[in-house]
Symmetry: C2
Subunit: 421 residues, 2 copies
């Protein structure tokens, strides 16, 4: 490309290629090998609390505990399929006939029970089978009506509300899990780099979002972590806005918030680019956000080997302090970040509503401060970081540069269809 | 194309083009115009039951009642944003700072209240504001833990579990809603027709699913109704299977189950095609499924003006009777069909677990019998139909042919990148 900025622009080849088939097979094997330890940890907690069985409902728990997978949102049409009961000796995976073959294939270590569409009808029998007198249920996700029907179906069994057990276990990641999150980050980094030549004045947010999705889906992602956000100028002030038919304008910001899913594990990144020459105000906002994010990273680096580890409430305060000390613009109203893995948002939580509990380790979470000026502009910078206290390690998994990138919009789009088939 | 079958293959131009901008504006206006009547119907039911307010949580209810939209699965990260409280005089739409601007824009008739991330802290005040002494909550979706915290936060207010109120109202569709479902059907019909030339031996299920998704997303769909299923040969026996890296084989079936979303409204269709020469067994299975579906359509046509209308339990029995009378293979284990609209699965329900209540009208639902032979083959045929008793009308909205389509796999793929940009 001829323009003077192009040499400095990130290129797809700057980032790791998608995982090969051998790597994916290794991950599958690693999951299989780790599931007994996951179950042992869950059973040990059950034993410590005097509970005999655990009933799981979250799709990410299904996959982590049993191997059974549902697509995003599929749980809404899957009835009870994938829900599972962990007893002392066995894991019972519930299905209806639509999912039975898949369940046997994906969860060979579980007992697949085709219960059909009514769990209450089978509940007492299931509990009796695993000998449960006290059963733990995920109170944050079990619908109230189902809870009541299950209690009524097995009145002699105590239904114990539990919250965050598997979430806390899953927040501590194994090397194989972190590898997959890093791979999902690289897929996202590469895709954004490949998109840059297509960003020009006049192309719509919607078209850029669709093209970025295409680059993700043909570049190693089996799915998106969530719908791509591409928001220009004042739209970037909507932290969860959706791309529109608005054309990209020179002199405005262009914010991308997106993530890939690789072998079940997700990434999440935000970059705020500049189309044409940035305004002084936008550049100044960007610089404050960049410094706020950097302050968090530096705090993490400084304290990664300390005991206790920093907490999500204090880290949020570190980013907020930078923005407040600058004083020109209000800090973000959302949280500083969130854990990520099989779900896009999981533990740990970082923000004003987080607890002062030290971060888990090893773990992966986002660091994503922002400044939003309604009707004017918005800037957010989001990276995933991997924290491992035992190795004194704080690694960025998102490697796309955070420097100011101002795209020369006089440049042509490169035209034509993406040659991805 | 040179092969003798091509002339008979459906072409994209056989189906309606995607809606233009004027049509979409008309739909937006129609929604705005209809919301007061929707609210009036809800308030009238509240009054009849002596309840003062309704708390809504389902994303499809958010859109129908207020106009606020979330992407598929976004409710998992949106905290309470989009949830709403309908009182006698106002609708309060809850948000946190991430969604406030969007809420004001999409739901101008609602009072947007940025409650942040903890609903229980604000619950008593919200109920007091609308003067509620009895509040209805959607017991099928409110998590048990939230229910308990809300009850504790407003102990003087009676929390009344309700189920299916808005679902039943939404099952009865207006002309503007049916237009959008029909448009989503046409987008899907066109996309499958455009895909046919790309189906050849050796291409994988995954590649065909991705290409079909691309054709949908660039052909008028703002999103998928659900992940595309493309399943070849024995995989077609998995009613909810996911496409794999399995190459398409001649002499086997190839099942596509997919849907488009147009202006929020969804379609859902299944076609089972034949790659190369069909086996006699597969053809015979197909014929039984086709006859089972046709029997349901004919029953609906015969009874569309009768009182009462047929019910979902009896209609399921009509399809099942055809398969059982044939006697060679077992009938499907899933339901016969489901309503569809802003959600992929909604009321009415048709199947063995459906009630004997007459169908609503006007309404839209799927008719999708199947036969699944584990390890061997699977066939399902699914169309959406529009039933309107007052006009004596039973219309298929899915227009892609249901005749046997055997694809000549000797044909080349047409090659190259889709010229869709």
């Amino acid at each position: 490309m001829a323009d003077p900025l192009s040499g400095a622009l990130p290129q797809p080849a700057d980032f790791a290629p998608p995982p090969d088939a051998a790597t994916r097979r290794r991950w599958t094997e690693a999951d299989r090998a780790q599931r007994p330890a996951r179950l042992a940890a869950l059973r040990s907690r059950l034993a410590a609390e005097g509970i005999d069985a655990y009933f799981g409902m979250r799709p990410e728990h299904m996959r982590w505990v049993t191997g059974f997978t549902l697509a995003e949102g599929e749980e809404k049409v899957a009835s009870h399929s994938g829900q599972f009961l962990v007893g002392a000796d066995e894991v019972i995976l519930l299905t209806d006939s639509r999912y039975t073959i898949q369940a046997r294939r994906e969860a060979p270590a579980a007992v697949v029970d085709e219960i059909g569409y009514s769990l209450p009808d089978r509940w007492a029998g299931l509990l009796a089978r695993v000998g449960a007198r006290r059963v733990a249920l995920e109170t944050a996700v079990v619908p109230h009506a189902l809870w009541q029907r299950l209690e009524a179906a097995a009145p002699d069994v105590e239904h114990v509300p539990v919250d965050g057990w598997l979430e806390a276990m899953r927040a501590v990641k194994t090397a194989d899990e972190i590898e997959r999150i890093a791979a999902a980050c690289a897929v996202a980094d590469r895709a954004l780099a490949a998109l840059l030549p297509h960003i020009h004045a006049g192309v719509t947010e919607h078209d850029l979002a669709l093209r970025l999705e295409w680059l993700l889906r043909t570049g190693g992602a089996e799915a998106l972590a969530f719908d791509v956000a591409c928001l220009g100028g004042p739209e970037a002030a909507l932290p969860h806005g959706a791309p529109g038919d608005r054309p990209v304008r020179a002199g405005a910001v262009l914010l991308f918030d997106f993530g890939a899913q690789v072998d079940g594990y997700r990434s999440d990144m935000t970059r705020t680019l500049f189309v044409g020459d940035p305004s002084e105000r936008d550049l100044a906002v960007y610089e404050v956000v960049r410094r706020a994010q950097l302050a968090v990273i530096e705090e993490l680096e400084a304290r990664v080997s300390s005991t206790p580890l920093p907490d999500g409430l204090a880290l949020d305060g570190v980013a907020r302090a930078v923005i407040e000390h600058d004083g020109r613009w209000p800090a973000y109203g959302h949280g500083l970040g969130h854990g990520i893995g099989l779900a896009t948002h999981e533990l740990p939580r970082l923000g004003q509503t987080a607890t002062a509990d030290p971060l888990p380790s090893p773990t992966v979470f986002s660091v994503e401060p922002g400044i939003y000026l309604e009707g004017e502009t918005g800037v957010r910078i989001e990276d995933l970081v991997h924290l491992d206290a035992s190795r004194g390690l704080l690694d960025r998994l998102t490697l796309f540069p955070r420097t100011v990138i101002a795209l020369d919009v006089g440049r042509s789009s490169g035209g034509g269809a993406p040659s991805l088939w």
